[in-house]
């Protein structure tokens, strides 16, 4: 359980580098600019992340062109991206698509796509839920139809993260064997991607429509769910790390405001009502950090209880981020409710994050099943 000095130091170095980069290249003004931008991310930042910082390839195995770092290091990056509210297809590409590919067991697909992902040349995402959303196997109704040597897909996928800029869609659909995974290139015939208006404008979601769109089977027909489920849990761990970073930032922002905002002739941070509310956020945040880091460790170590740890982290970190951002609005008073103030950006990211990859209630239910309750 005890970290050795080396690893800790390396992680803190990594954190410092990423933070400095994002403090320059994902300022609040950048975030707001990208919220209104059709692409929703900064291509130049994406390129620097890949070429100079090597973030896209960081946790991709060396065999597939990555640097082969562990998941704990990757989660340090996600913490910092959450902190900076970075609008980017990084989450969908790395946390979702790369994990889905790796867990698919399909060496051909991995060889084909992962080096491009690691090099920042390929943006990818996962299309799972349909009309009613959802992030488990019951969310999938779509059927893939055999078409000669390949397959075609027809139907709609909703809530697909950053699909509007993706070069590769990994789509879950039924075959007669069961749930299966398919690779689709969005420019393929019959595929249209429509960005929806999202509560959280920093993370665009799309409606993807397929009409007899050709698709390539990834992994074995009917054998996809185990791998997709594990990848979803790993992605939830990355999201939990993002949420810890966001909660940390929004708490810091509120603490700073409470130090300088005067009412009744003194800083509002001298009032116990403010002090104790922020202390409660701190306690929640430290607990969320413990949960998120333990889950990252579990992924890295291949802990057999990794899915349990992931669900604990997703539930606890989602709730904590919403709580921290809610406290930020409350303690900033009216100004925190305005469009111009950053508190609302964190709040919307937090609220959306509750639903993304399954709600806290859903993950609590999974924990219950895991402990036999």
């Amino acid at each position: 359980m005890t970290d050795t000095m080396g690893v800790d130091d390396a992680r803190e170095d990594l954190r410092r580098v990423v933070r400095q980069f994002l403090e320059r290249r994902s300022t609040e003004a950048d975030v707001r600019r990208l919220m209104a931008d059709p692409a929703g991310y900064d291509r130049e930042v994406w390129a620097v992340m890949a070429d100079q910082l090597g973030l896209q390839g960081m946790a991709v195995p060396e065999a597939h062109g990555g640097a082969g770092f562990g998941y704990e290091e990757l989660c340090v990056v996600f913490e910092e991206m959450g902190r900076a509210l970075l609008p980017s297809p990084f989450f969908a590409t790395i946390a979702l698509a790369a994990n889905v590919l790796l867990e698919s067991g399909d060496e051909v697909a991995c060889k084909r796509y992962l080096p491009a992902i690691a090099g920042g040349e390929l943006i990818a995402t996962l299309a799972l839920g349909e009309e009613e959303g959802g992030w488990d196997e019951t969310a999938v109704r779509m059927r893939a139809e055999p078409d000669g040597a390949g397959w075609t897909l027809t139907g709609r996928k909703r809530f697909v993260p950053t699909a509007h800029v993706a070069d590769l869609l990994l789509v879950v659909a039924h075959t007669s064997d069961g749930l299966s995974l398919f690779a689709v290139e969005p420019q393929a015939p019959g595929c249209t991607v429509d960005v929806e208006l999202t509560l959280d404008l920093t993370r665009p979601l799309s409606l993807v429509t397929f009409e007899s769109t050709p698709a390539v089977l990834v992994g074995r027909s009917g054998q996809a769910w185990e791998g997709v489920r594990r990848a979803l849990r790993f992605a939830a761990v990355a999201l939990a790390a993002e949420q810890v970073g966001g909660a940390q930032r929004v708490l810091e922002m509120t603490v700073e405001y409470a130090k300088v905002r005067h009412q009744f002739g003194r800083p509002i941070g001298t009032f116990q009502a403010v002090k104790h509310k922020l202390a409660d956020v701190l306690v929640a945040l430290e607990s969320a950090r413990s949960a998120a880091r333990d889950a990252a460790r579990a992924v890295a170590e291949g802990d057999p209880e990794v899915e349990l740890a992931a669900s604990v982290a997703k539930a606890v970190c989602s709730d904590t981020f919403t709580r921290a951002a809610g406290a930020a609005i409350q303690l900033h008073g009216g100004i925190g409710f305005t469009w111009e103030h950053p508190a609302q950006l964190f709040y919307k990211r937090a609220k959306s994050g509750e639903f993304l990859l399954g709600t806290p209630a859903h993950h609590r239910d999974l924990v219950g099943r895991a402990i036999g309750v």
């Binding site: 839920g129 999202t198 509560l199 979601l205 009412q263 003194r266």
Partner: protein
């Protein structure tokens, strides 16, 4: 305790029926009906005779409102809630007779819409820390400063304004209350966009604004008490359900139409019980309200309703599931006559975001708890360094 003579209730009923008989809502123009209602003393039955009232117990107004709504009559409060619920009681409590005659009828019949000019960027919870200044100039006052969180200021005619007239007095004592004609030169209203995307509130910049002394309510430097009346009424107003359906009922409708797990059932029942008890509280508070001005108990309803509404709308989002990831429209727009009418239909996600302000506006929940503690429970106040200093010497940040 809420004693009402049966004869008073009878009189009100009789007058109401008379009004409806003489001015059938279906065939009477809105303004004409409201004028007749005012003249019949049925605008606010507890106001004095001749000022829209009959000098009776305030609870009787409820019967009037219900009966008129049933008969399809126009509602004088509908598009001018701040004037109706906060402005009018303030003018009745503190205005001179000439002011009462000047302001109440136009307010009720819809000729003049009111807004509130209290909060400032540096004076939120600490309202008495406001720094907009008014300086006497003959029969007028010249006002300079900035107000904020003023809802409907873009479409209002009268502003309830509180300003500092003497910075050398302690903060609560150097304030004066005016009714500002919003069309006066130097009044600039700028819509303030909020996290929902819309601009419900406004910033109001006051630059060399000239106000006649005849628009002053209460004595010079005695404005704090006048403002308290407005604020107490505001808290009662915030406690009211503006929408036809309360948040728990909306949640219940939504709940019934969906698949749901046991956790959601527990939350649904809990919300339903809280909403029921909140309604019972409101009824009990109304029954206990014999005088025209509510006491600090109004803070209970304000506090409870704000948190209930937040929780209920959060629950609605959980029921909506992944639909909550989307939004209806972030198009920025300010309030207009039309958008006022549309408000009730706001998307649940928009209402959810909007509910975050409910624990802030009209006094934060933290301030409400302090008020209940000090004024209802009688606990000793916090030590205050700023209360007795001249305003000019208080640290500000």
């Amino acid at each position: 305790m809420g004693a009402i003579a049966a004869s008073d209730a009878g009189l009100v009923r009789e007058r109401t029926e008379e009004l409806l008989r003489d001015h059938p809502p279906a065939r009477t123009p809105r303004r004409d009906f409201l004028a007749a209602q005012f003249d019949a003393g049925l605008a606010w039955v507890h106001f004095p005779i001749g000022l829209g009232g009959l000098g009776l117990a305030p609870q009787l107004q409820r019967e009037v409102v219900l009966r008129l709504a049933e008969a399809g009559a126009p509602d004088g409060a509908e598009t001018n809630r701040l004037g109706y619920a906060m402005g009018a009681p303030t003018v009745v409590a503190w205005g001179e007779r000439a002011q009462q005659e000047r302001y109440l009828r136009p307010l009720f019949v819809g000729d003049e819409r009111w807004c509130q000019l209290f909060s400032e960027p540096g004076a939120g919870s600490d309202l008495a820390g406001l720094s907009t200044r008014a300086v006497r100039d003959g029969d007028d006052w010249i006002v300079d400063g900035q107000k904020v969180w003023s809802s409907m200021a873009t479409i209002s005619d009268i502003g309830m304004l509180i300003v500092r007239t003497d910075p050398e007095l302690p903060k609560h004592r150097g304030l004066t209350y005016f009714l500002l004609d919003m069309h006066t030169p130097g009044v600039e209203v700028r819509p303030l966009r909020q996290m929902t995307g819309e601009a419900e509130f406004n910033e109001v910049y006051l630059t060399d604004v000239r106000i006649p002394d005849s628009a002053r309510v209460g004595a010079v430097s005695a404005g704090w008490k006048v403002a308290m009346t407005t604020l107490m009424e505001e808290r009662v107003l915030f406690n009211r359900q503006r929408d036809e359906k309360g948040p728990a009922e909306i949640a219940l409708d939504l709940y019934r139409g969906r698949e749901r797990g046991p956790e959601l059932r527990t939350r649904m029942i809990d919300l339903w019980i809280r909403a029921r008890v909140q309604r019972l509280n409101t009824v009990r508070a109304a029954a206990n309200r014999t005088a025209g001005i509510p006491g600090p108990e109004g803070s209970i309803g304000k506090l409870v309703y704000a948190e209930l509404n937040q929780d209920a709308l959060e629950f609605c989002l959980d029921l909506l599931g992944d639909e909550s990831l989307l939004y209806d429209s972030y198009e920025p727009h300010a309030y207009t006559e039309e958008s006022l009418q549309r408000r009730g239909e706001a998307d649940l996600r928009r209402r959810f975001l909007r509910s975050r302000a409910q624990t802030i506006e009209g006094g934060t929940s933290e301030i409400m708890r302090t008020i209940l503690s000090d004024r209802v429970l009688g606990l000793p106040p916090e030590p205050r360094g700023d209360k007795h200093l001249p305003f000019s010497q208080i640290p500000r940040g």
